[in-house]
């Protein structure tokens, strides 16, 4: 019985910490498509090969995809910004201890509408990653993820 309750609790916690897919985020309908297109372009630029499933090749591909995505987002201009880091709700430089880095944000950088986490390969945002975002993004910022959907 106790085990059952623990499982339920784990399920509830994981669900609460799960990141919403960007195409389902409330309030993002008018602005999300260019980001989804940018992600598609980045994924297609570096198609997933069997060797890309092996570390560290997988990490290298991830870096390339993120760099490509960042350049695409920068090219979109306002209201899109690429690679913005936050600590305690404030924008800080990349690498600041304890900070999180959103792959893109939409809206004013200091009070964004929402932040986007991009994942490559079969990776998905973890519960701890989501919790770190919640703790460090400015209050009221929406959060969603773009996850690669590899073909068969």
């Amino acid at each position: 019985m106790q085990q059952g309750n623990q499982n339920q609790l784990d399920t509830v916690t994981v669900k609460a910490n799960r990141m919403v897919p960007c195409d389902q985020l409330n309030g993002a309908n008018d602005t999300i498509q260019p980001l989804l297109d940018a992600a598609d372009k980045a994924y297609n630029q570096y198609p997933l090969r069997p060797i890309d499933m092996i570390w560290p090749i997988s990490a290298l591909r991830g870096i390339r995809i993120h760099s490509y995505f960042a350049a695409e987002v920068t090219g979109l201009g306002a209201p899109y910004s690429a690679e913005v880091s936050y600590l305690g709700g404030a924008q800080v430089p990349y690498g600041t201890p304890g900070s999180v880095r959103a792959d893109a944000v939409v809206g004013p950088v200091n009070a964004p509408l929402y932040a986007v986490e991009l994942k490559s390969g079969f990776a998905v945002p973890s519960a701890s990653e989501t919790a770190a975002y919640r703790a460090n993004l400015p209050p009221g910022t929406g959060l969603c993820s773009i996850v690669e959907a590899p073909g068969p």
Binding site: A70, A71, Y94, P139
Partner: protein, 189 residues
């Protein structure tokens, strides 16, 4: 442009001091300002930053600034001569904000928004003795049910309100003076 080239331009600004990723041009008892070099994997970005020294500042941040230049990796955008000119031109404007009154002018001119901007306005009203405006902002906070405050300022609001309860506005002004001295000790020396 890569991180090294951008860092070289920022390092060459006359009178600037490097502190981590920040290049500090103005640092006194009222204002800290300059530029931050932000270099995540996908590009290099330069952001303007400016902060009221009379806040309790644990770390420097760009809440009142904005990105003024961005260089996506592997895409040729500009050369260092252009960047040098861009930063120097920007600094001509930004360096005018050297005290709390000109900081307010900057916030209005740049139409800075967000919680930290409102917090800065509140602290500045207290600092210059405009208690009526400070009290007005305080009432706004208490009546607005919006999302929680920035974690960054939540504990500082608490400290201010405790001192105000105990010692009134004079006590709060003394607290801001202490915070200003702490900031100077931490970031300006």
């Amino acid at each position: 442009m890569n991180k090294k080239a951008v860092a070289k331009v920022l390092s060459s600004l006359p009178g600037f001091r490097k502190l981590g990723s920040f290049y500090i041009g103005t640092c006194n008892q009222e204002v800290i300002s300059g530029y931050a070099l932000d270099a995540p994997p996908g590009g290099v970005y330069i952001s303007r930053f400016i902060l009221p020294a009379y806040d309790r500042i644990d770390f420097l941040h760009m809440s009142l600034g904005e990105r003024i230049a961005q260089f996506p990796r592997n895409r040729s955008v500009s050369d260092s001569t252009d960047l040098d000119l861009l930063v120097k031109t920007d600094w001509q404007e930004l360096s005018n904000a050297r005290d709390c009154r000109s900081l307010m002018v900057y916030l209005d001119r740049e139409k800075v928004a967000g919680d930290y901007c409102q917090w800065t306005r509140y602290l500045t009203y207290v600092r210059v003795g405009d208690i009526k405006s400070a009290g007005g902002l305080e009432l706004q906070w208490q009546s607005s049910p919006g999302p929680a405050r920035l974690p960054l300022i939540a504990q500082n609001i608490k400290a201010v309100l405790e001192v105000k309860e105990r010692s009134g506005w004079n006590g709060v002004q003394a607290l801001l003076t202490k915070w200003s001295e702490d900031t100077v000790r931490k970031f300006c020396q």
